[in-house]
């Protein structure tokens, strides 16, 4: 049944892909038309203004030359023309050449890189220009635009100054917006896919699943239960019709049974009726009175869009916050610029850790639905606080409030999955969340960079706020509290300490869990965005670079669980993935370029997804082996605590390293540390397996 359902889902996934593909093609066509128009408008505007600027530059040369002519020095006798023109050329990057000609167009002086083939154009121009009142319009010579200026003595022309502008300059200005257009289209593709997927799941796939469930039970001649209807969509209303059929049949049978009870025992038909009724009872399953109401299947995939929206809101801001915080460093007397840059991330992690218990307490009291409202509401409030002013304190308060909201909603997400999901759905939910993170980073980070470059960081917070508000609205419509399963065992301090004394758990936490989360908070939220800016990239380019992280996560997320399943329980996947990440970080020392950072981001994304999946599997298998003492979720919760400690410490440690060394040195040190800890982890497992072999012998 599950296989059939998942193949049905796959069919609808291909429908969604088809819609999105057509949608993207249409938008691409429309954007191309707008872009082509923009290119022409931009070209005309650029050319006009560059001409004006070039005229201004040319005018200063023209003035000097005319001054010399007024002093009686003929144009061709003026000394030092070439070096003067070369100096002027260096001052203005837009100008590709300067040429001084006489009134007939013969070249008197020119800067380097002027082709001889231009001579003909200058001569033709000189012939066509008769008086100083003739209009001097720019004209194109090969790939350059030429702006002519007239040098006159009194009322007659004695020469021309030609200022050349390379068309590549204009192209570069225009092409900078091309990448931004691609980013916006990509963001619309991803966001469109997420919303369509969400709509299909809620309006078609899940109602259809519930409908099919109702059809199946009635097809098996089971009329004892009806589906609970919570939505009023088209397909759910069909489930209601099935319910009505079942209710009518049960009502009919009930009334017949009452009539049967009223029959006299002497009635000739009483035995026949009893026999027929018994046959009906045997052939069909009936309700005893009112049919039992079966709640709808919980929609775990609803959490995907919620996760996407919230991670999207953070992905828009995370790469840009360190540089925003750095501008306040003069106002803080105690911290260096690097530490000030790390404060928003650090505060976020601290408050996120401290508010973990809050979510469980809230959701137990008021239910998941209201807890999600609280979480997303706090996130939206945190973003809106930034609008109240410009100060480091306000930024930190904003991040703290957002962190509490994040923690509350993230833990609520995990508890929701624990409460309602089957084991298979639980694994899928981790994969779903990883894909949501990947999608969010694919479109959030570059969109954030683009918006910051154009409207500033403060107004970019508005987009993040809108995403949080959208999450609230979606929760209101689609997230409901249903009947829960048994809750898992709680982690108490005594049990936590005992867990920590288990060598395998302690080694996993110290050598793998804690460092990896430390790395995540340092690299993604802090180091890489600042490093990319340091390498000369604009905010838009930083955002596009962080997109690589999202794309890599998105690609690897469906495969990582399968890979881990195939090599079930092996610690070597954890070791190899950590080794890869550490090595790539160290190799940056030799390249120190944007490309090496991009490779680092891609390898880190792949490595982290594989690492997390493999570590979860290892911990779960340990939990299974010790299930008489601990549940799997207790072991995982213990591990998550240390992960969060790593996320708090990461930015602080990185900022201290940055204060003492360069970006590439910091990466090298962090990579080396990962390799050393990884080597210890590997050694432990080698000794453990050798010990096991000796024991077996």
């Amino acid at each position: 049944m599950e296989q059939k359902n998942s193949s049905q889902e796959q069919n609808y996934q291909s429908t969604i892909f088809g819609i999105i593909l057509l949608f993207v093609v249409v938008n691409l066509a429309i954007s191309s038309v707008l872009y082509m128009y923009h290119v022409n408008a931009q070209k005309a505007a650029l050319l006009t203004e560059i001409s004006n600027k070039s005229r201004a530059i040319g005018s200063s040369i023209e003035d000097l030359i005319e001054h010399s002519i007024e002093l009686g020095i003929p144009l061709e006798n003026i000394q030092g023309k070439k070096s003067y023109l070369q100096n002027k050329l260096k001052q203005a990057k837009e100008i590709s050449y300067l040429v001084l000609t006489d009134e007939k167009g013969n070249i008197l002086s020119k800067t380097d890189d002027v082709r001889d083939s231009l001579t003909g154009s200058f001569k033709r121009f000189a012939q066509s220009t008769v008086s100083i009142n003739d209009k001097m319009e720019p004209f194109q010579i090969y790939s350059d635009y030429n702006i002519p200026l007239c040098i006159n003595e009194g009322n007659h022309i004695v020469g021309f100054l030609h200022v050349g502008i390379s068309s590549k300059l204009i192209q570069n200005n225009i092409s900078s917006v091309f990448y931004d257009i691609l980013v916006i289209l990509l963001a619309s593709l991803v966001i469109g896919y997420e919303f369509l997927n969400y709509f299909f799941m809620n309006a078609i796939v899940h109602p259809l699943r519930n409908l099919v469930r109702g059809l199946q039970s009635t097809s098996l001649r089971d009329f004892s239960s009806i589906n609970q209807i919570t939505m009023r969509d088209t397909i759910s209303l069909m489930s209601e019709r099935i319910n009505q059929v079942i209710i009518n049949l049960n009502t009919s049978l009930l009334s017949f049974k009452k009539r049967q009870d009223n029959l006299s025992s002497h009635n000739l038909y009483v035995d026949l009726v009893a026999e027929k009724t018994k046959e009906t009872d045997v052939n069909f399953k009936w309700a005893n009175g009112i049919p039992e109401t079966v709640p709808p299947l919980p929609i775990i995939t609803n959490l995907r869009l919620l996760g996407f929206l919230i991670i999207f809101s953070e992905a828009v801001l995370i790469p840009l916050l360190p540089s925003y915080a750095a501008q306040f460093y003069e106002t803080t007397f105690y911290f260096s610029k690097q530490v000030t840059s790390s404060l928003p991330v650090t505060f976020f992690m601290i408050f996120a850790l401290l508010s973990i218990p809050l979510s469980s307490v809230i959701s137990n009291r008021i239910g998941f639905r209201k807890t999600f409202f609280v979480g997303y509401g706090l996130i939206a409030l945190g973003y809106m606080l930034v609008f109240m002013g410009d100060s480091l304190l306000l930024l930190l308060v904003s991040r703290s409030v957002t962190a509490v909201g994040f923690s509350v909603s993230y833990i609520c997400f995990q508890n929701y999955v624990s409460a309602y999901a089957t084991d298979e759905e639980k694994l899928r939910s981790y994969a779903i969340f990883s894909v949501a993170i990947g999608s969010a980073y694919i479109c959030g980070a570059p969109l954030g960079g683009l918006l910051v470059d154009n409207i500033g960081l403060k107004y970019t917070f508005l987009l993040a706020t809108l995403a949080a508000i959208a999450a609230i609205l979606i929760t209101n419509k689609y997230i409901f509290d249903l009947k829960r399963k048994e809750t898992d065992e709680k982690l108490v301090p005594g049990k936590a300490w005992y867990l920590f004394k288990q060598p395998e758990i302690a080694i996993s936490v110290i050598c793998s869990g804690l460092p990896m989360r430390l790395l995540h908070a340092s690299l993604i939220c802090f180091l890489y965005p600042l490093y990319l800016q340091h390498l000369g990239n604009s905010q838009s380019a930083v955002g596009r670079s962080m997109m690589v992280f999202g794309i890599s996560m998105f690609i690897i997320s469906p495969f990582a669980p399968r890979l881990v399943d195939k090599l079930s329980g092996s610690p070597w996947i954890v070791i190899i993935s950590s080794f890869l990440m550490g090595s790539v970080m160290m190799m940056d020392r030799f390249f120190q370029s944007t490309e090496s950072v991009l490779i680092g981001l891609a390898v880190y994304a792949i490595g982290s997804v594989v690492h997390v999946s493999a570590m979860m599997a290892l911990l779960e298998s340990w939990g299974t082996r010790h299930q008489d003492q601990y549940t799997k979720s207790t072991v995982l919760n213990f591990y998550f605590i240390f992960e969060r400690i790593g996320m708090i410490c990461g930015p602080i440690i990185t900022s201290i390293l940055l204060a003492k060394s360069s970006y590439s040195q910091t990466l090298f040190i962090m990579g080396l540390s990962i390799l050393i800890l990884n080597a210890l982890y590997a050694l432990y497992h080698v000794f453990k397996s050798k010990k096991l072999q000796r024991t077996i012998r």
Partner: protein
């Protein structure tokens, strides 16, 4: 609401937002590029003055003792019609004190503050900002040999000058945006209709089948349902319900006969 209408709403919303964002981006970039070029052109205008003043600073000559500076800046203003005024300042105690200016109007405090912020915040010597009074200010910081910011030149022009130049093109851009939005909504309509054809057909068949079931009909055509799971289960469900009804009908028939068999009066055990 029909499924294809809801898909149309989703696609249209995203399309409209995308196209609006694209158009705003293009408009913004166009405006920014044009403004930057105007500012750079104006910087060129004061470039000659900048070199003269910088050379004097390097020679240790105080700016206020220079002759004919006001004449020079008035000449520059006359050369370029868009320039409203030019001023040369001395930076003292975090404030700009006017040394020379093209007209006698005093600089407003908020402009003074904004200019100081830009001087402190800019990485290079060039800076600009727009103010609420409809003027854009373009400036250049003069640094002394020790690298400290000691003096500044600032000129202003009406922001509406740039806006007026780009007005026609921006209006055309937004007209095209509206056409683009209309085209995308029409395209989304056809995409939604085409994509949900099978689903709509399936729902129609299911609805018709339920209607027929309610009317106790026996003939059902489920060929319109492409999904084999739904088709198979619906067929089995219809068979089961009809069978149950048949069974209940049998009981009812017997009960009717039983009722006819009872003597007139009540049926009692």
């Amino acid at each position: 609401m029909k499924i294809n209408i809801r898909i149309l709403i989703i696609l249209s919303t995203i399309s409209v937002l995308t196209i609006c964002l694209l158009t705003s981006l293009m408009h913004f970039r166009y405006h920014l590029t044009r403004t930057n070029l105007v500012n750079e052109r104006l910087n060129v205008s004061i470039d000659g003055l900048n070199r003269t003043l910088t050379n004097n600073i390097k020679l240790g000559i105080a700016l206020q003792s220079l002759q004919n500076v006001e004449g020079i800046i008035k000449h520059i203003k006359e050369q370029d019609k868009i320039i409203e005024r030019i001023e040369i300042f001395k930076i003292e105690e975090g404030k700009l004190n006017t040394l020379f200016q093209t007209d006698k109007e005093t600089i407003q405090d908020n402009i003074n503050t904004l200019a100081m912020q830009k001087i402190k915040g800019s990485k290079g010597i060039n800076w600009f900002f727009s103010s609420e009074n409809g003027l854009t200010y373009v400036g250049l910081t003069l640094r002394d040999p020790t690298g400290l910011d000691r003096n500044a030149i600032m000129l202003s022009y009406k922001t509406s000058f740039v806006k007026a130049q780009e007005h026609e093109e921006v209006m055309s851009l937004y007209k095209r945006m509206l056409f683009g939005i209309l085209a995308s909504i029409i395209a989304s309509f056809f995409i939604a209709r085409r994509s949900t054809k099978n689903i709509a057909q399936m729902l129609d068949v299911i609805t018709t089948s339920f209607d027929k079931l309610e009317r106790n009909e026996k003939k059902f055509d489920l060929s319109g349902i492409q999904d084999p799971i739904v088709r198979g289960n619906l067929r089995a469900m219809i068979t089961s319900v009809l069978s149950a009804r048949q069974s209940l009908k049998g009981i009812e028939t017997l009960l009717i006969s039983a009722d006819k068999n009872t003597p007139s009066g009540k049926n009692k055990k």
